[in-house]
């Protein structure tokens, strides 16, 4: 990674585009990223989702709990684009309103996991020795449980509910970030500029935050985006199993779960919330793939 930076510094005066003043890492990233049309499209979709997450409840044509018993389980029509559910609620509006829940849950849980994992990974990679051993064995234990199993175990202790879903997902995100940050830390730690900083007497805390952490950021960003998709899927799965969001919440997984009983007569009740989950996760994954190719080509899936 350090070599890459040196190269950029050398190329700087040569490859200066006309309309951009400085070839900063951000413009460099943008140059690589915008070549990937699919990832760019996915990025736009993600931005739109976030806007929808904020303004969703204000623009939805119906309320999330607006019952209409004259129009139950109706298929898609001009009035109800995605049909209505067993209580006559407009599914399209509920999906729009539910966007906020899915995004909020996934961002909060991955953020908590990323912060915890990053701190552990930096400590583990920088100090090494027994503390590295301790942290990595702790990660091994968490890794011994397939992801969703650990979440179910945690919920079995804490009880069902969205808050506990956040805790569960963030706990099983920790070891993954810890390992990734640890390996980037090891790579950055052995570079000349870190050695130089240490030799002029900088304190470990300063070295870690000022010099090593920035070198791990691109790996963190890429994995953060990838994990968001997984977190949305996991949260929806848990809600589907009845362990996460509870009805009447317009959470997508919970909506889908509620539609199971009407699969024979009204398949649209399950189809549209599932489609929303699929498209959202797909957008995050495509966006993450593009980020990875632009930021850190060395990481492979």
């Amino acid at each position: 990674m350090a070599e890459l930076k040196v190269n950029e510094a050398i190329q700087q005066p040569v490859s200066q585009p006309v309309n951009i003043k400085k070839n900063t890492p951000i413009t460099e990233f943008w140059r690589k990223f915008k070549r990937q049309k699919l990832a760019l499209g996915a990025g736009v979709f993600v931005v739109l989702l976030f806007i929808l997450g904020i303004i969703g409840p204000f623009i939805a044509p119906y309320g999330a709990a607006e019952f209409d018993y004259d129009h139950i389980l109706e298929g898609p029509s001009a009035q109800h684009w995605a049909g209505t559910d067993a209580y006559g609620r407009d599914i399209f509006s509920r999906i729009i309103i539910g966007t906020r829940i899915s995004l909020f849950i996934s961002i909060l849980s991955v953020l908590l996991g990323a912060v915890g994992g990053t701190v552990l990974g930096l400590i583990s990679g920088y100090y090494g020795k027994w503390i590295d051993n301790l942290i990595m064995r702790f990660c091994d234990i968490l890794f011994a449980f397939p992801g969703i199993l650990l979440a179910i175990g945690i919920i079995a202790i804490l009880g069902p509910g969205l808050g506990n879903v956040v805790i569960a997902i963030s706990i099983f995100s920790v070891p993954m970030f810890a390992r990734i940050v640890r390996s980037s830390t090891l790579a950055v730690k052995s570079t000349v500029y870190v050695e130089a900083t240490r030799s002029i007497g900088a304190k470990p805390r300063r070295i870690i935050w000022k010099h090593i952490f920035p070198g791990t950021v691109s790996a963190i960003i890429v994995n953060f985006t990838m994990r968001l998709g997984t977190a949305i899927l996991t949260a929806a799965s848990l809600s589907f199993l009845g362990l996460g969001a509870q009805p009447p919440s317009p959470e997508w997984g919970a909506m889908l779960s509620g539609g199971r009983d009407y699969l024979n007569t009204a398949p649209h009740v399950t189809f549209f919330p599932g489609l929303a989950i699929f498209l959202t996760v797909l957008a995050f994954n495509l966006f993450g793939d593009g980020l990875r190719d632009a930021l850190d080509p060395k990481i492979k899936d």
């Binding site: 175990g153 202790i157 362990l243």
Partner: protein
């Protein structure tokens, strides 16, 4: 070779130890008194005390832990709070359906994943590659329970070809295993594509082409074998994903397996069963990782000397 095997075997002992502690403490992490939970909310104080003695909860933690491990080794996993039957029996009869479901899923996933991966790698940047890779990223993004419900809708409700759920005949395996395998197939496709593309850049591939070998022979005869080492590792690790995925899929298809037992147990707060299931899943996962590690040593002699 033997040293490598021994090293790996010894390496899992501390993990087993800590995982067992973690699962042992599981019951103790539940808010409230586990003895009261077992005895029931309306139980008298004497009853609660009796349960506490019966379960050994009045003894020091270390004694309890030794007791816990000895019991597990003897196959005694406690008694289900729901059915009052031994947890071991409850789990034993659910094991095979989940096992076969996982094997079927892995079978599909390997066949389709490899096929898509190889086609994408050999037709790099052509439409086959784009379709294959878009399919793969979609497969990773699909909520499995939704895919399962849509397949039920199409093949069971509309067409009436396959059962909607349960386990009656070999036909019952088709939809759940496709649903469960889709995500893994997608991962295998992506991974085998990038691995094969790396190998196709090697000198010996160029030599093969230069001496006039047919492209098919180069890919299937020379490149594929060498690109498979990381793919085997990756595929092995996906077994863990299948174990986790089966929990969700079994609920969708009313499958009489371990995953559905777990969800039912969580709903009922049947802690002995939850505890045993977590232990079983973790053991399976550790065992699979060990087998993958050992297999890796067999396939790639270089790493034995690490």
């Amino acid at each position: 070779m033997l040293r490598y095997f021994l090293n790996r075997l010894i390496g899992i002992i501390p993990i087993l130890f800590f995982v067992s502690i973690f699962i042992f403490l599981f019951v103790h992490m539940i808010p409230g008194d586990p003895a009261r939970l077992v005895a029931g909310q309306d139980a008298s104080l004497a009853d609660v005390k009796a349960v506490e003695r019966e379960l050994g909860l009045d003894k020091p933690l270390t004694t309890q832990y030794v007791h816990f491990v000895t019991n597990i080794i003897q196959g005694d996993l406690g008694v289900s709070l729901k059915t009052k039957r031994p947890v071991f029996d409850e789990i034993a009869k659910r094991f095979m359906p989940t096992f076969w479901l996982t094997v079927w899923s892995m079978g599909w996933a390997v066949i389709f994943g490899l096929l898509i991966g190889v086609i994408s790698a050999t037709k790099r940047n052509k439409w086959q590659d784009y379709v294959g890779m878009f399919g793969a990223v979609s497969g990773i993004s699909l909520p499995s329970f939704w895919l399962g419900l849509m397949l039920i809708q199409l093949f069971s409700v509309n067409l009436g070809w396959l059962p909607t759920g349960g386990l009656d005949s070999w036909k019952s395996y088709i939809l759940p295993s496709i649903t469960l395998g889709a995500g893994v197939a997608a991962v295998i496709a992506r991974f085998s594509r990038s691995s094969l593309m790396d190998v196709l850049k090697e000198d010996y591939i160029r030599t093969g082409r230069a001496k006039g070998l047919k492209e098919n022979k180069v890919v299937w005869g020379h490149a594929l074998k060498n690109s498979m080492i990381p793919v085997v590792t990756m595929t092995g690790l996906q077994f863990g994903f299948l174990l986790g995925g089966s929990i969700v899929i079994e609920t969708v298809f009313s499958w009489p397996g371990l995953g559905r037992l777990l969800i039912d147990s969580v709903a009922f707060r049947d802690y002995p069963v939850i505890q045993a299931e977590m232990l079983l899943f973790a053991l399976e996962f550790i065992l699979i990782n060990l087998i993958v590690d050992l297999l890796y040593g067999v396939l790639n002699p270089q790493i034995r000397y690490d």
